[in-house]
């Protein structure tokens, strides 16, 4: 998808969905990544994992479908697709930690040029720390896709040379999808994949991170 304007959150979700291989096992993090499910092609065979113990998660449950025993990681009621399976928490995180998921999609506060991820704490001195499964997800999947706005409200870039927020995981992000540009990150550095309503030069001027 190309665009000459910054992407909406829906468009970002659509782009991410298009980059998920058919038949992949995928974990969608809480929040914006959840929207990716809406754009998976019917028949893609993508299987959703939820770390609270399920493969084959279906769409949100509505009305009579709502079952308090069947929720996603955000504790929202969901449904079960044919071919699903349930397992306990240690087995579920073994599945992630063991690298069996093809893709995990997460939000972020910051991503570094080396693929470091910061998405669990702003490091505010009075904040109550809470990490959930973020650190396990960050290191668990074969590929970690991050979705975020590229610039904070104050204009500061969130793709940074080094994360200033506390890390969730080191060198774990392989793709970064933002409203104005998407990137691939590997051992060689940051590679621009596409821009949306911003020029390559403007991007280079506004980021402290070199990219090819």
């Amino acid at each position: 998808m190309s665009s000459d304007k910054p992407l909406t959150r829906q468009q970002m979700a659509e782009i991410v969905a298009a980059d998920i291989p058919d038949g992949a096992y995928v974990n969608l993090g809480i929040g914006q990544p959840t929207m990716v499910a809406d754009y998976l092609k019917p028949g893609s065979g993508v299987v959703l994992h939820t770390e609270n113990g399920m493969l084959g998660m279906g769409p949100p449950a509505v009305g009579d479908q709502i079952d308090p025993d069947l929720t996603n990681a955000g504790k929202q009621p969901v449904t079960e697709l044919p071919g699903a399976s349930y397992f306990h928490h240690a087995d579920s995180f073994a599945m992630m930690r063991g690298g069996h998921l093809d893709v995990c999609i997460m939000g972020a506060f910051q991503v570094s040029a080396r693929g470091d991820l910061a998405n669990w704490s702003t490091g505010a001195p009075d904040a109550i720390p809470a990490v959930g499964g973020a650190m396990d997800l960050a290191i668990g999947a074969k590929q970690v896709f991050v979705m975020m706005s590229l610039f904070a409200k104050d204009g500061k870039p969130k793709l940074v040379p080094d994360c200033t927020y506390p890390l969730t995981g080191k060198a774990c992000v392989s793709r970064l999808y933002t409203d104005v540009a998407s990137f691939r990150i590997d051992a060689d550095g940051v590679h621009l994949l596409d821009t949306y309503g911003i020029s390559r030069d403007e991007l280079a001027a506004r980021l402290d991170v070199p990219f090819t």
Binding site: D67, H89, V131, G132
Partner: protein
Amino acid sequence: MTATVVKAGEAVEAVKDGDTVLVGGFGMAGMPVQLIDALIEHGAGDLTIVSNNAGNGDTGLAALLAAGRVRKVVCSFPRQSDSWVFDGLYRAGKIELEVVPQGNLAERMRAAGAGIGAFFSPTAVGTPLAEGKETRTIDGREYVLEYPIRGDVALISAFRADRMGNLTYRKTARNFGPVMATAATVTIAQVSEIVEIGDIDPEVVVTPAIYVDRLVEVPR
């Protein structure tokens, strides 16, 4: 020894002051609500609670915290939109908190149940939650050494039990129950239904009876 079927009040008499209590559930799914209520009534205090969250609203774990019975919470995600009881106690310095990544939390309890002395986990490497912990590079990857979390008592919720204590669960309410059942000296399960021995197919048992000490029937 095979499980005994008791009332919730009798079941939680196993909890003593100062105990570490593993509490199942992820949100409300799998939360042993009636056992927690009985524990509040029982009165044991100075507890360490190990659970994924640190209480919601004013009931359940939050009520246990509000009653001043909890010295420390070990969990992955204490901060939620309705965790005001925990938040207040924490900001007032009245409760200790150990935040553990969710997978390490599950695996540390699994290690306790499985007799593993410690294990190298890749989770949290390079983050504040690994600070002060032993690290090691194995086959080119960095790991953090994590130790077992044992409970004196586990309070879990399952779906169906037979009278021996074999358990099945329902959907994502399974979550921490099977792991916690292995990790505590005394495991107490509240279940929706208790059936006769032989009425659960041995192929579908999720928690074998060996892990279950007390059963409390709480019909839905």
